[in-house]
Subunit: 102 residues, 2 copies
Amino acid sequence: MNNDEKLTGLLNLDRLVHEPARLLMLSVLAQAKQVEFTYLETLSGLSKGNLSSHMSKLEAAGLIEVTKSFRGKRPLTELRITPAGRKALTDYRRQLSSAMQA
Amino acid sequence: MNNDEKLTGLLNLDRLVHEPARLLMLSVLAQAKQVEFTYLETLSGLSKGNLSSHMSKLEAAGLIEVTKSFRGKRPLTELRITPAGRKALTDYRRQLSSAMQA
DNA sequence: AATTTATAGTTTGTATAGCAAACTAGTTTG
DNA sequence: CAAACTAGTTTGCTATACAAACTATAAATT
């Protein structure tokens, strides 16, 4: 693969992963077994609505799993990365690194 | 800067540079003194309209310079990266690398 | 006990932007 | 001279990122 091909590869980046908010979410999820919605909210500073929307998209694409339960009497939403999500993140990183060093 | 801060830095990425088509354009421009519009068109496979639009945005932000002239009797549009553009690309890469290795 | 405030999200509305189709303007070719 | 090609730009559509408004429950305050 020559230099130009590495660069044009940028156009094939997975847009779902490329979005900064979702890239952050996946990166955090890749490092923990499980993460709470509210933790991500605090960490990222994103609005609940925005975070909820990104969460739904990642879930719909099968990159994360979401479980809703209760802690005491309060709703508790937890997120986990799936094998597909881990692969998507890895692939994304590989493509980007390749283009970066080009 | 701790791990979380590196990751949340993703949210501060320059969206102008982050867009794959423009990242490609800047990356190509960073490696050559000057590049023709038609060259980028062929290389990227982007439609003329799309390319023109991205070019205008990069120019408006001062990241590239565009000169229009004639080669023989045909219009010739050439693009060059500016110091500001080079800096924007460098900063973008640094931020992303930092988050990637986090 | 009733009202306010806080928690934990979801839904809705808006504004931006990426993309290609359609258009403009000039040039070459048959 | 008409058709086709070159080199871009403008326009219109669609998708999406974002926050404000909303829902629902629980805790705190008066």
